[in-house]
């Protein structure tokens, strides 16, 4: 009798757990619903963190790509082709990213993938896509090694021909922040913190190198553990180091509490980070003391570009629940680059998709060039965006405001 009730309860629990898992994945099978003129359907895969800490950025990516696909369908941009998106959730985890990559490769209607958000996730996906000759365009990866090889500082070599990005790299973003701090903000003594992830550590390293070269001093450095929220020990070290600014290489879920705790410890100095902290959630998490904190982000502010007005208006009109966030414009352009490449391939093949469409789309991507949301979109010989504009933002009155835009020339 006892045994039976045990089985019943285990079964109930298992059923419960399954229900929960089902709830958990309800976002991931979400396909774009506009089916336009009929004919062939091309799926654009999207891989981004749709749940968890980084979901604010990830959902912005997904919606923006969805908007690109819908716009192409509405305009009947590629004759005979209907675009759909398939968004998968990687939760910012490299292992999930690789699973998603395998899943997208297996679906023959997928001709291009936008994503992921995290450089570390991209590392786990690149080979899977490259083996299948499936083109991947990331709106957000900034680690230089992804396009220029691990020895990018000394000898550049492109590891994967199928990987492209519309975002600028840390090789530019870190030094850009260093120049702004040293030349414009007149900060001479920095405390550098990173989260040891591919993105954060890379950013911190390129920043430190440039800041030292300019003549600034590094008062101390620290690596935090992204799993915790207690940075009090680090905050005390920052305060006692006498630094006048903190550079943080990492993302907003940690940067928010870190900024808050540094200020609470009594160090009234700004925290500056890369595009990973350029999110409204950073301000929410860092609280009132975030005023004056800075972030660099790729490109010029989307709201200020004339080319972006249409995107912002369309995004609003489409009625997405979530904001397009830091990467909206880049995601739209990434999606549109895939659409352009597909168009080229289809037109070269007499209006039909060729049998080796994936390889052809990858090849066509190299020569894609169009005026996108973020300006001219095209790729150099490594697959990096040729548009190398960056902007410094500061927190004012509880929102990010652009301070200075520029191009880093080395």
């Amino acid at each position: 009798m006892r045994q039976r009730s045990l089985i019943a309860i285990t079964a109930a629990l298992a059923a419960g757990a399954l229900t929960l898992t089902a709830c958990g994945s309800r976002d991931s099978g979400d396909k774009g619903s506009d089916s336009g003129s009929g004919g062939t359907t091309v799926v654009i895969g999207v891989d981004a963190p749709l749940t968890g800490d980084l979901s604010a950025l990830g959902l912005g990516i997904k919606n923006s790509v969805d908007l690109a696909a819908k716009t192409a369908n509405k305009e009947d941009y590629v004759k005979g082709i209907t675009f759909e998106i398939q968004a998968l959730d990687d939760q910012g985890q490299p292992s999930s990213g690789q699973q998603n990559a395998t899943k997208l490769v297996a679906d023959k209607s997928v001709l291009g993938v936008v994503g992921p958000l995290n450089s570390s996730v991209a590392e786990s996906m690149q080979k899977v896509f490259d083996d299948a000759k499936l083109v991947e365009v990331s709106p957000a990866n900034t680690n230089p090694a992804l396009t220029q090889g691990t020895n990018w500082q000394t000898s550049k070599a492109r590891p994967y021909k199928s990987y492209f990005r519309t975002a600028t790299t840390d090789a530019i973003q870190g030094p850009f922040a260093a120049q702004y701090l040293f030349n414009d903000a007149k900060k001479k003594k920095v405390f550098v913190i990173d989260d040891k992830k591919t993105y954060g550590a890379g950013l911190a390293a390129t920043f430190t190198e440039e800041f030292k070269k300019l003549g600034g001093t590094v008062a101390g450095s620290e690596h935090i553990n992204p799993d915790t929220k207690d940075f009090s020990a680090v905050a005390t070290k920052v305060k006692n180091s006498g630094a006048d600014v903190v550079y943080y290489g990492g993302e907003y879920p940690q940067a928010g509490p870190l900024s808050k705790q540094i200020k609470a410890a009594g160090a009234k100095i700004p925290v500056i980070g890369g595009d990973g902290i350029y999110s409204a959630d950073f301000i929410k998490l860092a609280g009132a003391t975030a005023t004056g904190d800075l972030a660099t982000s790729v490109g010029a502010p989307v709201e200020e570009l004339p080319s972006a007005k249409e995107f912002v208006a369309n995004y609003k009109a489409a009625g997405y629940k979530e904001a397009y966030e830091a990467y909206g414009g880049y995601s739209y352009d990434s999606g549109w680059a895939i659409i352009e490449a597909v168009k080229k391939v289809v037109e070269d093949n007499g209006g039909k998709l060729p049998s080796d469409a994936r390889a052809k789309v990858s090849e066509a991507m190299q020569n894609v060039s169009f005026d996108g949301v973020t300006g001219k979109v095209s790729f150099d010989e490594y697959g990096d965006a040729t548009n190398k504009q960056l902007t410094v933002y500061a927190v004012k009155n509880g929102a990010w405001e652009s301070v200075k835009s520029g191009t880093y020339t080395g």
């Binding site: 009730s5 629990l13 929960l20 620290e222 690596h223 940075f231 680090v234 005390t236 609470a264 410890a265």
Partner: protein
């Protein structure tokens, strides 16, 4: 070295939080020899319980001095309901089963609770901000104490004193001690062991709830994953202090918290060790300490006689 007092305070605060959660691990283990891995999630549900009271029960703009006691009651209610429910539905049916069965159940329960909050609590898919106490910070010499930390400073010793009184002086508390020593004999002597076990779960949940509110006040945000790492650390603290010993839980928590903080602050200053000194290495040093303690005192710092237990 002038940052030492501040770092000790940082460590003490972090450790007190570990200690509050560790009490739940140690009490449940002491009585049923179950490592309740879902305890971190009971801590988490407590924090969300407090937030719910603030958001939906209290009128907007209630001052924290009024809101805090009510939030605390809400947190304790939610945690106790979850913990007692878990005991009744998931652990009690497995009481006679081999030890591994309830252990795996606890891990499953931990995941289920996380996902339940993730799926059904409004906007819990990313971190939610927790109300803060205005005012402060306070300065004592060159030590800064945040307003939110005052709660933790007061709550940890008070909780400890209440618990000690309860276990040592009350009839139920003595029943708990008896059950911990020998459940079968305790039953023969007329102790209602089922009731005692439920009380142990409920008490552990109460302290976890206090810890959950303290976490929210200290960091200003709570999320559905907050119980996982903290639960693991609290379990470590319980082992460090001697699992089964309630004072050991608090001592173990404080030792662990201070060790982590000091490792972050000072290891890097030792010549040649600068690579191993950052916060990302603090956990490594904390566990080195755990291993060292267990090598020389396998029963933990204040451990009970393990031999009785075989």
């Amino acid at each position: 070295m002038n940052e030492l007092p501040q770092q000790l305070v940082n460590g003490l605060l972090l450790g007190s939080m570990y200690g509050l959660v560790a009490i739940g691990y140690t009490m449940v283990y002491g009585i049923v020899q179950l490592i309740n891995f879902a305890h971190g999630e009971i801590f988490m549900t407590g924090a969300f319980g407090a937030l719910s009271v603030y958001l939906w029960v209290l009128p907007d703009g209630t001052t924290m001095w009024v809101a805090l006691p009510l939030m605390l009651i809400g947190a304790i209610l939610v945690s106790v309901i979850v913990a007692v429910g878990a005991e009744r539905l998931a652990y009690r049916p497995l009481r006679g089963a081999p030890r591994l069965a309830p252990l795996i159940t606890a891990i499953g329960l931990s995941l289920a609770l996380q996902q339940a909050v993730w799926a059904w609590y409004p906007e819990a898919k990313s971190a939610r901000t927790f109300p803060q106490i205005d005012g402060g910070p306070f300065h004592l010499g060159n030590v800064t104490i945040q307003t939110g930390d005052i709660f933790l400073f007061a709550a940890a010793p008070i909780s400890m004193a209440v618990l000690a009184y309860f276990v040592m002086k009350t009839r139920t508390g003595r029943g708990m001690q008896a059950t911990a020593q020998d459940p079968d004999t305790a039953k023969l002597m007329g102790v209602n062991t089922d009731r005692i076990i439920v009380i142990a779960f409920a008490l552990g949940a109460t302290f976890a709830a206090v810890g959950g509110v303290a976490y929210g006040l200290k960091y200003g945000q709570i999320d559905y994953k907050m119980g996982f790492i903290l639960g693991l650390k609290a379990f470590t603290a319980a082992v460090l202090g001697g699992i089964g010993n309630i004072y050991g839980a608090m001592i173990g928590g404080v030792v662990l918290g201070v060790a982590e903080t000091l490792a972050t602050a000072y290891i890097a200053d030792i010549p040649g060790m600068d690579k191993f000194g950052s916060q990302s290495w603090a956990d490594v040093w904390a566990f080195v300490l755990l291993i060292l303690v267990l090598l020389f005192r396998p029963q933990g710092l204040l451990g009970e006689r393990v031999a009785d237990r075989a």
